[in-house]
């Protein structure tokens, strides 16, 4: 860990907020993608259609 001195709170807060927001965005993107893909599979199976990938 580098010596951040009196600015440690500012630097670590910046990195913490950024990583949390990016992780949230990526997580939400994949969670929603999975949910929608499953829903499409279900409705296509019901209607007897092929998947678009």
């Amino acid at each position: 860990m580098p010596e951040l001195g009196k600015y440690a709170v500012a630097v670590l807060s910046s990195y913490g907020v950024t990583l949390a927001l990016l992780a949230g965005l990526v997580g939400l993107t994949f969670w929603r993608a999975g949910r929608v893909k499953a829903a499409l599979r279900e409705i296509e199976a019901r209607q007897g259609k092929g998947s678009d990938g």
């Binding site: 001195g5 600015y7 500012a10 910046s14 990195y15 993608a33 929608v36 499409l40 678009d52």
Partner: protein
């Protein structure tokens, strides 16, 4: 092969499925590599101390906040002129990503500004135009959610995107237009004398590449989801008619 072929949802799904794993991997490598290099292996600045390490997230996030809006503008124009649904869906997919980058730029700017300027916030031209850009992102996302008809939503959000572009440009050039405020000029410049020192420049470039790749990966992934949602709506409508 024409670029417009990718406006075909099936073609877009096929191509993006091939490209996405590479994009995610490259984005992860660049982000982790650039941030680790910048955070652990660069020296403190003689004036700003260790706060200079915030540059590796603040600058790429701010750049992408503006560039995301430019991408949305281009996609919206393609929708408004050529009526390609994938472009409208891509603009919709990019908005929450751009909004998050804008929020990161505002938050890290506040964390950086407090020890350097003695204040979390100042009604400085660049900061203010960034805040307005964030509000435009919010409005854009809300407008998409508020309108049921997807074509009407794409039309109205396309117009909103055109109006918001003024603030995207202002966010980038505000420091040049108004020679006032606390925020300094651009950190990156083609003029070597105005650029940041090489010791910060190289890891910063890698971080920028990481943010760009992450943006592209997220937009492609989210556009695929929007295309599937659109197909679900079409199939449900067909079911109701049957």
């Amino acid at each position: 092969m024409s670029l417009w072929e990718y406006a075909n949802p099936r073609k877009f799904m096929e191509t993006s499925a091939l490209v996405l794993p590479w994009l995610w991997a490259l984005a992860l490598v660049c982000l982790l590599g650039g941030l680790a290099w910048g955070f652990f292996f660069t020296p403190d600045d003689y004036k700003q101390g260790s706060t200079v390490k915030i540059i590796y997230i603040h600058v790429p996030a701010a750049m992408m906040a503006i560039n995301a809006w430019v991408m949305m503008l281009i996609a919206s124009l393609i929708w408004l002129v050529r009526r390609h649904h994938v472009s409208a869906l891509a603009a919709r997919a990019a908005a929450p990503v751009g909004m998050t980058f804008t929020l990161i730029a505002l938050a890290t700017g506040a964390f950086w500004g407090q020890p350097m300027w003695g204040t979390w916030w100042e009604w400085d031209p660049r900061l203010t135009s960034f805040l307005i850009l964030f509000l435009f992102y919010l409005g854009y996302v809300a407008l998409w959610e508020a309108i049921d008809n997807p074509d009407t939503a794409a039309d109205l959000t396309g117009v909103l995107c055109l109006v918001g572009s003024v603030f995207a440009v202002l966010s980038r050039y505000a420091v040049n237009f108004w020679n006032q405020g606390l925020h300094q000029g651009a950190s990156l410049s083609l003029d070597k004398r105005e650029n940041v020192s090489d010791v910060y420049w190289f890891p910063l470039l890698i971080c920028i590449a990481g943010f760009v790749l992450l943006f592209v990966a997220l937009v492609l992934q989210r556009t695929r989801t929007e295309i599937r949602l659109r197909r679900i709506k079409a199939l449900e409508a067909r079911e109701r008619l049957a």
